[in-house]
Amino acid sequence: MKDFIIPDRDFGTPAAKSKTMVTLTIDGFDVTVPEGTSIMRAAAEIGISVPKLCATDSLDAFGSCRLCLVEIEGRNGTPASCTTPVAPGIKVHTQNSKLKQLRRGVMELYISDHPLDCLTCAANGDCELQDMAGAVGLRDVRYEKGENHFEVRNTSGEANPNWIAKDDSNPYFTYDPAKCIVCSRCVRACEEVQGTFALTIEGRGFDSRVSAGMAGDNFLSSDCVSCGACVQACPTGTLQEKSVIDIGTPERSVITTCAYCGVGCSFKAEMRGDELVRMTPYKHGKANRGHSCVKGRFAYGYASHKDRILSPMIRESINDPWKEVTWAEAMEFASNRMKGIIAKHGRHSVGVITSSRCTNEEAYLVQKLTRAVFRNNNTDTCARVCHSPTGYGLGQTFGTSAGTQDFDSVEETDVVILIGANPTDGHPVFASRLKKRLRQGAKLIVVDPRRIDLVDSAHIKAAHHLQLTPGTNVAVVTAIAHTIVTEGLFDEEFIRTRCDWDEFQDYAEFVSDPRHSPEATQLLTGVPAEELRAAARLYARGGNGSIYYGLGVTEHSQGSTTVIGIANLAMLTGNIGRPGVGVNPLRGQNNVQGSCDMGSFPHELPGYRHVKNDAVRDVFESLWGVQIDNEPGLRIPNMLDAAVEGTFKGLYCQGEDILQSDPDTKHVAAGLAAMDCVIVHDLFLNETANYAHVFFPGSSFLEKDGTFTNAERRINRVRKVMAPKQGYADWEVTQLFAQAMGADWHYTHPSQIMDEIAMLTPSFAGVSYEKLEEMGSVQWPCNEKAPEGTPLMHIDGFVRGKGKLIVTEYVATDEKTGPRFPLLLTTGRILSQYNVGAQTRRTENVAWHPEDVLEIHPHDAELRGVRDGQFVKLASRSGETSLRAKITDRVSPGVVYTTFHHPTTQANVITTDFSDWATNCPEYKVTAVQVSPSNGPTEWQEEYEAQAAQSRRILAAE
């Protein structure tokens, strides 16, 4: 087991960014630090830890605990070292008899109002108050018992009015006011790091108490989003993880990467033996910089949930119950079936789906399985249904299929356009970093049919909210371009040097046409022309302009066109190639970027190189020793079509639940039911497994080595902290299956797979596990030209040479409202749940979101007699389902919204099979629907439940 621990010292205050250096003397040692550094931090730089309680280097200095006092020669008094900046030539003393006495006095006061139950306290051994009492040499507390906050009753047995009971409403941590020293670290963390402002200090002086939300709220009912920043910041046992209360303190930690969203936060998996005690955000993680959200920080319990399947299973037909078998039997059964299909229907009748949740190495092996062993290119991945238009659109315009920036870039942005993304729910840690920048004064333009939190929340207000009608993204983006071009706001020099000036002329002529003006399109888009023009001016002329976008852009019949339109905006305004700007897709799953990089798409080999390219195939053929098909393979929807038609018969699906996550559930079910061999490789019997013949149990991210690549192209290590509960890491399972199919594969560690990837893929040529150990993480391209990786892309020129401006004609979707289906349904995510919910539904996160609800505007609700909380039937041309209504004006009249985290809701029964013209990415974001009051589940939901229950039966082992 790799135990990779970097000392995580707390420097007390954040690093200063000044380039001017200052030299001073601390305790006789010279130290040189950037101007603006605190004396506390300067001392820490030379290894001197000044005692402290209210300071921590994730928060701005506050100066309340008075423990970090120092003396400066020639200055009066004993200033706090956390709030006193360094100055040239000063001589600082951190330890002398006066300071010792003062500190001891301060500690004595703290301890006089603190319970002395250290031995049985959950923070025992992990408590800064305890450490500081030791550090200052506190030996005696002279104060007699008096008024305090920690005793339930006073000595006469009367209830203590100052005592407040422990709040354990949050599923993951407790708040024990008796242990609180009111250092304000939690309140400041909630404000500065998370940006939610859920916590405050109520009262003054002795009455000061930490309080969540409004009077009467507890942690769960308050605005708290359970990101864990306060728990992380708390120096005592006041805010404490329940897992530590249950288990005890961890004894070691391993740096790894979160397996939830595409932000790719680095975490320390803190262990005791092979039991995971807690996950804490790693402060040197370059994506998250020490922050986390409720999912990564707390929602890991699914990995040890009782629903996890730990034994391979097979069955003759999907109507049979499952039979548990050995790995060898499962491999034999699966390979015989697949070989039989290939013999009978040819090598193009089978394929694979790689997982965007598994590691790069695992995705690579799965696509290699189909290309080198099945000998076709039928491989696809969940990016098909989320960011495939990003691949196409950015590939066409810039020449590479990925975001242009690192997340640090947001610290230097001045204007952000956020299109079709809801980062506070979908990408919470990025949202916190964005909010921090917005509080510093950056401007925000939100383009979204729904009033997402960032439009208006604590200390954040969007400059413009373009609340467009779902499906009109291209019209809005083109109207922004129209404004920029016709008002002369474009960056001529950038266009002349970085793009093709003649191409710009054609493009300018196209967008300047009055039919693209905001005035001409406002009836269609619902966006007031003046508002749109003001937003365009702000983006073009407001300084560093960046665009962040999500699935609200891609999951449309014109998803690829919108991505192209976004790239056009960045090029027109010269917002490419430096910090603070760029085009940034917010990726959905943890490794969706990586699975795309690894050649999961049916038309391209690893590194985004088309299979038609002889030179590229040659490289792979010579290493793999087989001939690679030169025709593109089937994409997921095409696989299902071919299955229904009878020419596609076998599928190996790793870590992906297409039955729940893909549109038009009935069509997916029909496709799966038509196949002779469906192999599902997953942690749980997911919805797709209802139609499977073979089940390979999967391993969680805690149980294997590998790498994930996040939305900023950052390759992060995933480290094994415990043995796979079902015996094998997922890459080993794929290898066993490949071997059973006749492949001569003998990888013994994922690092060998990465070496092979590096050998075959120019943008990964410099990547190795050694480099990742050394650097922590690296952003591709990483090769001879960029040995340390590439944080910012397209600095001096685009990957494709000149940036390409492409005209973006608006074509209305064919999914239209009418008398039968007058409302537009759009779908999204919620903070506490993740994707199809297979993981988060198996954690305490259900406390926040036990079911999917339908958001509907009060006007539409009243017209239909729908009441808040009541069951409604949601029907589209594809199907119908039922769920509870939530009446809110976050959506406009005519628009309804829901999430798709729960299989019982089956939101995708409603969605249609319309898809993006270029990539077949489904049009999840626009479905014409009708809503009506209902009594409960629809017939389809009941039939589905029955089929699922029937299909999940497992025969007891004999």
Partner: protein, 78 residues
Amino acid sequence: MSADPHAKLIYMANQISKFFESKPQAEGVAGIAAHINDFWEPRMRRHLFEVVDAGGAGLRPLVLEATRSIRRPTPEHA
């Protein structure tokens, strides 16, 4: 949309066409052909040619023009 493979592919080809129709004629034709060659599996192109060979009913004119540059799948693939 219908489950009929031909109807679906006609729809998809026309969708691609609508994107390329805003480009100059020659570029649009080349664009459609390249797109279908690059992204459509041979089975899909076979179905497309079944439609084209039967007269191309339902296909937009630019798609029909582009089919001259779309690769017919080899028998091994179809």
